[in-house]
Amino acid sequence: MPKITFIEHDGTKHEVEADIGSTVMEAALKNDIGGIVAECGGGCTCATCLVHVDDAWSEIVGPPSSEEDQMLDAAFELKPTSRLSCQIKVTESLDGLIVHTPSYQGR
């Protein structure tokens, strides 16, 4: 199973296993990772599951879709590599993925 590392804003690291086909948000919720709110439950309508993809992984993860980009307008603090974690599907190629969770998701 691919492994994802979540780094919280205060540096706390969590390494978790994620099911292929699930989303990075689901992996975060399953493992109680701090910093992910996911108010709409993964429907791409609330922008509270924001993560900043580590620079080393940004190209592999790729850019947001146009639907996601529209929702990013409402995200609390955008960085160039920010993505909504409910829109990142877990695949083998993401094994070892590192994402940073923000201190505040706007609620």
């Binding site: 609330c46 922008a47 509270t48 980009d69 307008d73 955008l78 706007g106 609620r107």
Partner: protein, 341 residues
């Protein structure tokens, strides 16, 4: 001078559970007024997933959030519910005769026998944008909603956002503002194409400004804005403004519910499972807002809770009558109320 509306039940929240409660109450001749902070009915279904399919409404293999809201509105039509939208309940007080007074932020007062809290995840309130030091300006020169347009006449305005709210207010306020600048982080807008076109035309004719970027800093004194810094990819502008209207979407906040003396557990309201009544007799809580052993945050659960709750509310509203349980399939009485007999 606030108007007082007298009714049997005030339902706080017009999402699916609040809406279906109208049906169950209506079958028992109980009248309801619903209050919701959104300017539309449907709650989370309408605001968070109107176009998304729901697969677990009993008897309906698939229905969208919007579809379910429409179907519920159709179902409760025979009972003529009264809606107060774009309004938030501020206070719920118990009166001497055990009835309740409910006050809203639009100065409306209701007097009722029972209150139903169907507040879901909380009231949808504007999201605060990620701008450091914005708090002192809120309600003074940073506004998340426009109550009186006249307040903005002759002012330099900064509108932030890319959706219908930002575009609608840009178009409404541009004619009366001294100068209006719209700021959005991308040059693509989510709003209705017609609104986008009108905005672009105003920019082209020089009647308003459009800046692509994000507000990174605010300047001002004592809550009064003087200017804002907008940073683009390679640009940085200082824009003079007297007021800023940021439209960053909505988020669910518990709000005043926590202040009415109702026992809460982690932002949820504990209830009994016979009638879903809170610790205050006459106040009930249904849907996502309540909690009890085994509670599931499902729409179907909220429907069930509304049905049971209505049986108890009957005794508050008609203390001297006997409640005879009837089925809609066989009762002429119920069918007459539904307009189908």
């Amino acid at each position: 001078m606030s108007e007082t509306i007298k009714t049997d039940v005030v339902i706080i929240g017009a999402g699916p559970c609040g809406l279906f409660a109208v049906f169950e109450l209506g079958l028992l001749d109980i009248k309801a007024h619903l209050i919701d902070i959104l300017d539309k009915v449907g709650g989370q279904c309408a605001e968070l997933y109107p176009e998304k399919p729901i697969y677990d409404i009993p008897g309906i293999p698939m229905v969208t959030g919007h579809g379910l809201t429409e179907a519920l509105m159709e179902q409760i039509k025979p009972f003529h519910p009264n809606f107060h939208l774009g309004e938030m309940v501020l206070k719920v007080e118990k009166l001497a005769d055990a009835s309740f007074r409910v006050t809203t932020d639009r100065d409306k007062t209701f007097e009722c026998k029972c209150v139903v809290i169907a507040a879901g995840g909380g009231s949808f309130q504007p999201k605060r944008p990620p701008i450091a030091g914005i708090e002192p300006y809120e309600a003074k020169s940073v506004h998340y909603a426009v109550r009186k347009m006249e307040a903005f006449r002759g002012k330099n305005l900064l509108v932030v956002g890319g959706g219908d709210s930002a575009l609608d207010w840009t178009l409404n306020l541009q004619p009366i503002a001294k100068r209006l600048t719209l700021v959005h982080r991308r040059d693509e807008f989510r709003g209705a194409p017609d609104s986008v076109n009108k905005m672009r035309a105003l920019v082209a004719s020089g009647d308003m400004d459009l800046k692509i970027g994000q507000v990174t800093a605010l300047e001002g004194d004592n809550g009064q804005l003087v200017a804002a810094t907008v940073k683009g990819k390679d640009t940085s502008d200082r824009i003079e403004c007297d007021a800023m209207l940021p439209f960053f979407g909505l988020t669910m906040k518990l709000g005043p519910v926590a202040e009415w003396g109702i026992k809460m557990e982690d932002e949820l309201i504990p209830v009994d499972t016979a009638a879903f009544e809170t610790n205050i007799p006459g106040i009930f809580a249904i849907g996502d807002i309540n909690t009890y052993p085994g509670k599931l945050k499902l729409i179907l659960s909220g429907f069930h809770e509304g049905a049971l709750m209505s049986q108890k509310i009957y005794h508050y509203v008609y203390p001297d009558k006997r409640l005879v349980f009837q089925y809609t399939t066989s009762s002429t009485n119920l069918q007459k109320k539904l307009g189908v007999a």
